[in-house]
């Protein structure tokens, strides 16, 4: 399987993501510069975390107009897997591949911490290596990760079963106490309608080796690989 990781000016998680996919999971990984249009035969495209364009204007707002994004949007429309992690999630929202927006954390603070998320919706591409409702420990590192959508959109996301992951406590309770950034509905990640585009704020690539304190993120990448 060939995995394309898009590199924007200001991306900073692309090498961690490549390390997990290539060194730990033995996949072919190619880096795709944002100015190119060719996805070079990628089977999966990942938009990594970071601070594309310095987060100027709004997070992801400038990156969405990079030439490669036109190809990514076409690629997603054909049903291919596209994953946005952290800043990548913000870019997917800005370009309209996913609904809603991410706003400044309720605390106004940059949060760098481990959180617990629950696999909320089983998905054949992304969660086959997880149990239903499995709890996962992964780090978050962001200031603009509070998920927001208007009432109708939120209702649609919830009723269509498109919440991928929800912030919760160690017992799986999703409430205001277990909501690190004041996201609506404790939402940590969502799918598009077709289920092939995933955006999430936590960093699975930083939770893929026991040395880093958790291997719970590995399942997401293993699911992706086994799907292809």
């Amino acid at each position: 399987m060939k995995i394309g990781i898009v590199v924007f000016p200001g991306s900073n998680c692309e090498l961690d993501t490549r390390y997990v996919l290539k060194n730990l999971l033995g996949q072919e990984v190619i880096m795709l510069w944002h100015e190119q249009r060719d996805l070079e035969g990628s089977d999966v495209v990942i938009l990594p975390g970071g601070f594309s364009y310095g987060d100027y204007l709004r997070t992801g707002a400038i990156a969405r107009f990079s030439p490669i994004m036109e190809s990514v949007i076409e690629f997603a429309a054909k049903g291919n897997p596209v994953v946005g992690i952290c800043n990548g999630f913000q870019i997917l929202l800005e370009c309209g591949l996913l609904p809603g927006a991410l706003v400044t954390n309720g605390s106004l603070k940059f949060i760098s911490d481990d959180v617990i998320i629950k696999v909320e919706t089983d998905n054949p591409i992304y969660t086959s290596k997880y149990e239903s409702s499995q709890l996962l420990k992964m780090p978050i590192a962001h200031i603009g990760g509070s998920f927001f959508a208007d009432d109708d959109t939120l209702e649609e996301i919830e009723s269509d079963g498109r919440v991928a992951f929800r912030y919760c406590d160690a017992k799986g309770n999703a409430n205001s106490k277990s909501n690190p950034n004041a996201s609506l509905g404790n939402i940590a990640g969502i799918y598009n309608k077709e289920g092939n585009v995933l955006g999430l704020m936590p960093h699975p690539e930083r939770a893929s080796e026991s040395l880093l304190g958790s291997t719970d993120g590995l399942g997401l990448f293993e699911s992706l690989i086994s799907f292809n």
Partner: protein, 82 residues
Amino acid sequence: MIRAEVIVTLKDGILDPQGKTITGALGGIGIEGIKEIGTGKYFHLRFNTNNLEKARSSTEAVCEKLLSNPVIEKYTYKIIEE
């Protein structure tokens, strides 16, 4: 010459944590009479056209497409002739 000024603010009901924090500081500095302070973004635009209509439509286009995110933000603008 014509130019434009654009102000982008959060839609009603969207939490404005910066504004809230600034409002919270008011009590400590002895300024009275202000109920609330909200924040937003200011942009100024210069044009390479003197056509008012063209400037207006370009301003609206850039507000919709780039300067604001319609999910969470609204904008106002004025075109200024100098």
